[in-house]
Amino acid sequence: MLRRLWLRLVDPLDQPLMMIAGLLLLYALIVITSASPDRVPAQMLNMVAALFFMRLMAQVPPQRLMHLALPSYALGILLLVAVALFGDVSKGAQRWLNLGFMRVQPSELMKIAMPLMLAWYFQKHEAMLRLRDYAVATILLLVPVALIARQPDLGTAILVLAAGFYVIFLAGLSWKILAGLLISAVAAAPLAWNFLHDYQRARILTLLDPEKDPLGKGFHIIQSTIAIGSGGILGKGWGQGTQAQLEFIPERHTDFIFAVLSEELGLIGATVLLVLYSLLIARGLMIAANAPTVFTRLLAGSITLIFFTYAFVNMGMVSGILPVVGVPLPFISYGGTALVTLFFGVGILMSIHKHRMLVQK
């Protein structure tokens, strides 16, 4: 009886994906226990919630998801506009919408709604994709990105932009146009500079020369690179990182948790994490490659590459090769919202994989 219940519970789950995700969560607990032991119970609850959503999504067939694409996108836009008009200001940025009983961050919803919407859009125009369709998709992408960027929340804006861009790229936008976009993006960079907030400019300048302002804006980057570098190959040992334990690393349980991991577990620990991410992404891309419909392919590919974007932007920032943007380390950083969003994605991947035959039938 119990066995049957268990089997029914795990049936929709993709085993390799589940295993990799499980290892990542285990790893997360190890690191958080060192970085911020008080938060372990809370994060375990977050994990349970995230797994619940994963399981939920895993059994929703892709066709049902397609129906959700337009409403969730529309709701997302609506909420973003609401945030811009009535949002709560916290830490100088307007990101939260107070619904009275809870505060929500609509930009988080966009991380999933965006690829859903675009994948649905390309599925709809599958018969004959015209340049116009790419243009429409681009507009659908840029409206929410602009709304998020002006909150300002550069990290989320980049993630949403990347999610949408991956869909457009995977949908087959021609290389010529991609090259053209790249060139114009480079050309527009100085222009974009003018639109950046002061603190965003400061972060970019800080990346170029963190030692210029060692106690101010450069402090985070300097301290996190010191933490990583001082970890060496084997690390200082779990719970033994002086940079971490003496609070030299800012946000050590959230955005900068990778510095704690690298300091205490060394190059070995960092490499293990890279390998786990690589496996996760490889599995995700495999699912995308074998997906039956345009919608599922694009959705799976985009979600997988979002995992990559999270990981690369965060580790790049903490190790001082990318500017500081508020992107957590996927699956590892403390925090419920990001974890739920990520497992939403994992659940969708599982669903796509599980239902690939059903569609073909």
Binding site: M128, F169, I226, G232, S262, L267, A270, L285, S319, I321
Partner: protein
């Protein structure tokens, strides 16, 4: 326009997925390379940086070395006391904070003034004492209310204390808070690391000269700190090493006798052990209380000291330059014997004046001394003899001979800022003056040089060094105050080896002639009254230095304002055959040397040679005495 071809579509999609996979791999390899760079290639650098982050060195200031007299009497020591300190950068409204504090702990207006002064001179981040020497009661009261005063704290500190107060202040000097000049000196000596945490620095006297001996080796505590700078735990510590103790050649009791002998008169006395150059007493009156300076002197005390007409802050023994008056005569006589300008038995006739060109140089004694040989010229202090002698010797001979005794040169005593004085010579005049007519040396100027007037100007320590050298038969030592330095850790003593500076080429018979005459001064001459009944044989010479040019009028002490009275001088050594002590005394505006200065020398000798303390404190001899 593209038409659907499922197979082609799928292949293209898989191509894109493949490309994306490649891109992911490329980015991860890039990250991996970055980690390798940080964690392997640059590992040592970052490990060091992490250690520097973590470990903070907290200096532990060493105990400053003690200053002891030759018999072990403590002249400068340390005591530990609680101070109430404010860190200006952390306290908001300074006046309000001090007002609130004064409700708990007594803070007098002078404490406030002193604090204001410290505040102006200091950087914002160091904590400054607003009250020192808190009682236990006050400490307890404050601690109970500490939470109300951010940036205010109680600290246990070591303080310098000069237990004898206003005593020997000009030789001990004092310490004060480190200022920019001191920092430069610390920098010059490469002592920055050792002075981390040190707040005081020797400002004058021995405290200044031996600063780096007295300071000691700063200890350090390695403390693990968190990012907020709070100490988490102590990892290791290196104990400080207390500064070296100075044991002086000075005899505190003798110093006290000498200081008391001055009463409230201004002046200086330097007593030297001729055979070593060790200074037995170094007096400059008035004294001041060096304790006032230790934690920043309050403005009212400063004004009192600085504006006093008696100038108590001037070290007269080293920085006052006075004409030596007749105390110059024994050296003139010795010079004359040495270069063969006079024989001891050779006499002159003194009519009471010496005429040179159209100027007449008067002798102090109306009517003159009559027929005078060298012995009588010193015993009676005959001016005319030396007017003639100076004229015969010439300025170059005089200057060259006197230079050997150290006149007009710094003695090299172990106190900073000694003055040079003036040994007059044509060369000196050329350098001293700018206009050609002033630069010329006139033969008439040589005449008054012979009796120690004119441009002659020497510090009391130079006079003491010269008489000690004479007493020591021409073997000259550098006067010094420190006998040995004791390493407080090992107990090793470093003796300040008395090394002769030079031996002046003199004939012993000539020295003996001059010494005999100086014995005569104290036996039957100008010093006889002061030394009446002495149980030892002493040699001396009185002197009076003119402050005010009388232009031929008879000098009458009673008619001249006190500041314009002559300075009284006396040089002496005893016992005459085997000198143990040689000294120079100067009493500013004291009048005749025989009256004002010689009795001080008598008290000092009596105590040093016989252990006899003077019966009456004041030593002024009021009876008139002719000549000097």
């Amino acid at each position: 326009m593209e038409f659907k071809n499922p197979q082609e579509e799928l292949e293209r999609f898989q191509g894109r997925i493949g490309f994306a996979g490649g891109f992911v791999l490329f980015c991860f390899v890039l990250l991996f390379a970055r980690f390798v760079w940080l964690q392997i290639v640059q590992h040592d650098y970052y490990r060091t940086r992490a250690e520097e982050n973590r470990i903070s060195l907290v200096p532990i200031v060493p105990n400053r070395g003690l200053i002891l007299d030759r018999n072990g009497v403590v002249l400068a020591r340390n005591y530990s006391a609680y101070t109430l300190e404010i860190t200006p950068s952390k306290a908001m409204n300074m006046d309000a904070v001090i007002d609130d504090l004064s409700q708990i702990v007594e803070i007098q207006p002078k404490d406030r003034k002193r604090f204001k002064k410290l505040l102006e001179e200091s950087k914002n981040f160091e904590s400054l004492p607003v009250r020192t020497r808190l009682t236990d009661d006050e400490v307890a009261k404050f601690i109970a209310r500490r939470y109300r005063f951010p940036g205010v704290d109680i600290k246990a500190r070591l303080f310098r204390q000069y237990p004898m107060g206003a005593f020997a202040s000009h030789l001990l000097g004092y310490i004060g808070r480190v200022n920019d000049n001191d920092l430069d000196r610390i920098d010059d000596e490469d002592q920055e690391a050792n002075y981390r945490g040190t707040e005081h620095f020797g400002k004058t006297g021995l405290e200044q000269h031996y600063e780096f001996e007295l300071h000691g080796q700063t200890g350090f505590e390695q403390v693990e700190v968190d990012a907020g700078g709070h100490a988490v735990r102590t990892l290791a510590s290196t104990a400080p090493i207390a500064g070296n103790n100075l044991t002086l050649t000075v005899d505190a009791k003798l110093q006290e006798v000498a200081e008391k002998a001055f009463g409230d008169r201004r002046g200086a006395l330097v007593a030297i052990e001729p055979s070593t150059g060790g200074i037995l007493a170094l007096v400059s009156t008035p004294n001041y209380d060096p304790n006032l300076f230790v934690d920043g002197i309050d403005p009212s005390n400063w004004d009192t000291l600085n504006n006093s007409p008696d100038k108590p802050l001037v070290n007269r023994a080293l920085n006052g330059a006075y004409p030596p008056g007749s105390t110059f005569k024994p050296y003139m006589a010795l010079g004359a014997l040495t270069i063969g300008k006079r024989k001891p038995e050779q006499t002159i006739f003194d009519p009471g004046y010496f005429a040179f060109g159209n100027h007449t140089f008067h002798d102090d004694k109306k009517g003159g001394h009559g027929t005078v040989d060298m012995y009588r010229s010193i015993v009676e202090s005959c001016d005319t003899y030396y007017y003639m002698l100076a004229n015969d010797m010439g300025i170059d001979n005089i200057a060259n001979f006197m230079r050997q005794f150290g006149f007009g040169q710094r003695t090299g005593v172990d106190i900073e800022g000694e003055s040079e004085g003036v040994l007059p010579s044509p060369d000196w005049k050329k350098k001293r003056f700018k206009r050609p007519e002033q630069q010329k040396w006139y033969a008439g100027e040589t005449i008054s040089i012979g009796i120690g007037q004119g441009y002659n100007a020497y510090t009391p320590i130079q006079l003491a060094q010269a008489v000690a050298t004479l007493a020591n038969n021409g073997v000259m030592y550098r006067p010094h105050l420190v006998r040995y330095i004791t390493d407080t850790r090992s107990g090793d003593k470093t003796l300040i080896e008395p090394k002769p500076l030079r031996t002046i080429p003199l004939k012993q018979e000539n020295i003996d002639i001059v010494k005999r005459a100086m014995v005569g001064v104290n036996k039957e001459g100008t010093g006889a009254r002061a030394f009446a009944g002495a149980e030892y044989v002493s040699a001396g010479k009185t002197g009076t230095a003119q402050v005010y040019s009388l232009k031929g009028e008879k000098y009458a002490e009673g008619h001249v304002k006190q500041e314009l009275r002559d300075h009284a001088l006396f040089i002496a050594f005893a016992p005459a055959d085997q000198p143990k002590i040689a000294l120079a005394v100067l009493v500013e505006n004291g009048g005749f040397g025989a009256q004002a200065a010689a009795p001080i020398a008598r008290q000092v000798f009596d105590y040093y040679l016989l252990g006899k303390l003077p019966k009456d404190a004041a030593a002024e001899d009021d009876t008139d005495e002719e000549g000097d």
